[in-house]
Subunit: 423 residues, 2 copies
């Protein structure tokens, strides 16, 4: 056991030292060279398509034999089109403005000190994710563009795929005379290595987990590195008494069914009691047609014959499935209180034509993204116009909601004087 | 043991629930009411001076009997003047602009969605600190002004003082019809309670430790709540070959001796080899006159007869004492590499008349505050003009360097549509 721990420490310390050694060279690259390298990496992924497909085939066959569910198998699978999309992602990142070096504040003190607040890379970013090989290229691209070294720990089911993607990118960097260690993959799938990685504080500046609730919880509980929590979304829509039915039903259908396994999908619906008898039958019909199971309170059961009774537990659940909890409330205040009790701080919407209710909801609901008359599905870096997304933060420190390139940067103060001392 | 753990859980969950219950009322206060309450709390502290002095006397006597060192006893002690200063601090905070509600970005998407990024309170802030009772009023003031509930865990040596300060503030809030639970003090000094508090993630949005390296380390290792790391500063000054001696010596003396026990004091000096024989004797004399012990390399020992030999360990040390490590280097590159190896990411300075060296140093030294031709002692919320300071962050997530009111806020996106759904 002790030998094993020593081996793990040695392995991770070596990796951390490599990351630190690559840091200065990476930070000295100008925007043009970074964009050039991203394009070369994109070309290499397309060129080395067969190598990637072959590696992915190994993962896929193993996963299939181990009985991986169909949906997960699909996420794991690489195709020529998906490789094209990965490459396209890198080219898009190359086209985005580089936030590093931006002076966000500039001020002069009465003693003549000139202070500038400047955006800088975080340094070394750790990313722990599950079985989607496209995250490998994506996370590299975002971190590289912002001058960060990235250490990746992908899911073991995608191991050969991740390794191949990383190798191809590293080769492309080497050809550009950029340290390959700008992207490092943890090649040991032992769980103890992942846990030890979460404590590699000396080398890693921030850790971002991307995956299900279990992974996020494990990172939050074990990490000594600052973490950006992402992901879980128990998103609500509240249909107020003045809601426009023409807008309301399409929004609910969109938020619940446009894509069900995602964190910004609607999981819980609140309906103002005054319009329950008008809207619930329509909603019941529209949702049932799309095979959505409804779990509701007594009023809901009265109005929607297909509905099942909801338990207290239902209101706190992120189903990620064709299930929706529905509850009637008697006021916007009750809706807000319910949401603030059960939500995960992700995305919540009010559908209303009452401006004062809209303002109250926007102000008082404690979520990263609060909507009036729109689908919660818009909580997304691309939909927000960031051009990229490293995840959606559900914590309040550093970043909240969709995170793009800026959220992968920190800042420093640069202070210039001419001999000032503190009196 | 289990009963004890249950009791701790019950105690902290009750406290957390109180904080959550106070949150909405606190967030609904406008700036005027917050400022009014801060002024009333300041008046109450002055009015209840005798009560505070009496409580502090209890702490002081106990600490003195337990053999507390003179310096710490002085930090613990309240006097009428120090109570006035505490009150004055709250009045100053009342005078600062309220960052909450500020719209920092506003944009419209092609689909017509209108998005605003708005500054909001963190929610509930936890602060763990050591034996300075003035932090109690200060932390309350900063958190209250930014609409945050604060849960305080002060050092056990200042227990009665902290309790009295908190009680006086809570009474003042109650008179203003504001929930007293806007400020909560953990009244159990058991270490297990403090550790459990660090895991009160369900109720606390951010945890800020203020104190020595041991406290910070314990919080980083144990907390599941996002932490803002503050404090330790192994700050460097590099005297480049073109440095102006007239400025250099006063800056070094100021940074080392103006106040020795603080995180922005200079702990390590680098001198360009080319000017070693000119500047070291002058520095040696100036530092010795101020009783600063010098620990240096061979060149330093040759030039300064009073100097002792430095060990490798000296270069990594935050002395917080009248000791300075001194090393000669042969280039700005060597200086930067040395600093990035040994510093704590706090504050580092170059003294130079060479603009290209200055720019290189500003860009490449990885610290919260990087200086040209000024003392590191300026890393401070007041010196930066923030009007207040909750601490100095040495991490890169969320806040870096001096943290004022803005750094106690998060943001949310408020999105307004007219029926948009995601295609």
């Amino acid at each position: 056991m002790e030998t094993q721990n020593n081996n793990i420490d040695l392995y991770l310390n070596t990796l951390g030292a490599k990351a630190q050694a690559a840091k200065a060279a990476l930070q000295s690259l100008d925007e043009e060279r970074k964009n050039q390298a991203l394009k070369r990496a994109a070309e290499a992924l397309v060129r080395e398509r067969d190598r990637l497909l072959c590696a992915n085939g190994k993962d896929y066959e193993k996963a299939r034999k181990n009985g991986m569910a169909e949906g997960l198998l699909d996420r794991l699978k690489l195709t020529p089109e998906r490789i094209e999309a990965m490459a396209e992602g890198l080219i898009q990142i190359a086209g985005l403005p580089d936030p590093v070096g931006e002076v966000t504040e500039r001020f002069e003190r009465p003693n003549g000190l000139h202070i500038e607040k400047v955006r800088v890379p975080m340094g070394v970013v750790g990313i722990i994710y599950e079985a989607r090989p496209n995250v490998t290229a994506d996370a590299f691209g975002l971190c590289f563009k912002t001058g960060n070294v990235v250490i990746l720990k992908g899911g073991r089911d995608a191991f050969y795929s991740n390794l191949a993607v990383t190798e191809v990118i590293r080769e492309a960097l080497t050809k550009e005379d950029i340290p390959a260690d700008a992207v490092l993959l943890i090649e040991n799938n032992d769980r103890a290595v992942t846990t030890a990685f979460m404590k590699l504080k000396e080398y890693v500046d921030v850790l971002i987990p991307r995956g299900g609730a279990g992974l996020i919880r494990s990172v939050v509980e074990n990490s000594t590195i600052p973490v950006i929590e992402t992901g879980t979304g128990n998103c609500h829509i509240f249909i107020d008494e003045t809601a426009d039915m023409e807008k309301a039903i399409p929004i609910v259908i969109n938020a619940k069914t446009q894509r069900i396994g995602v964190c910004n999908a609607c999981e819980s619906l609140l309906v103002h009691g005054k319009i329950a008898d008008r809207i619930l039958p329509l909603l019941g019909k529209a949702l049932s047609e799309r095979k959505v199971e409804i779990r509701g309170d007594e009023t809901v059961l009265e109005q929607i014959p297909e509905a099942h009774a909801a338990t207290e537990e239902d209101y706190g659940k992120e189903y990620l499935d064709l299930i929706l909890s529905v509850k009637t409330v008697s006021s916007v205040e009750e809706a807000i209180a319910h949401i603030n009790k059960y939500n995960t701080g992700h995305s919540d919407a009010i559908l209303t034509e009452d401006q004062s209710h809209a303002r109250k909801f926007l102000r008082e609901v404690d979520s990263a993204c609060v909507y009036v008359n729109a689908s919660t599905r818009f909580t997304d870096g691309f939909e927000f116009g960031f051009g990229a997304e490293i995840g959606i933060s559900t914590q309040k420190l550093h970043a909240r909601g969709p995170m793009g390139l800026k959220e992968l940067t920190s800042y420093k103060y640069q202070i210039t004087g001419d001999g000032q001392v503190r009196p």
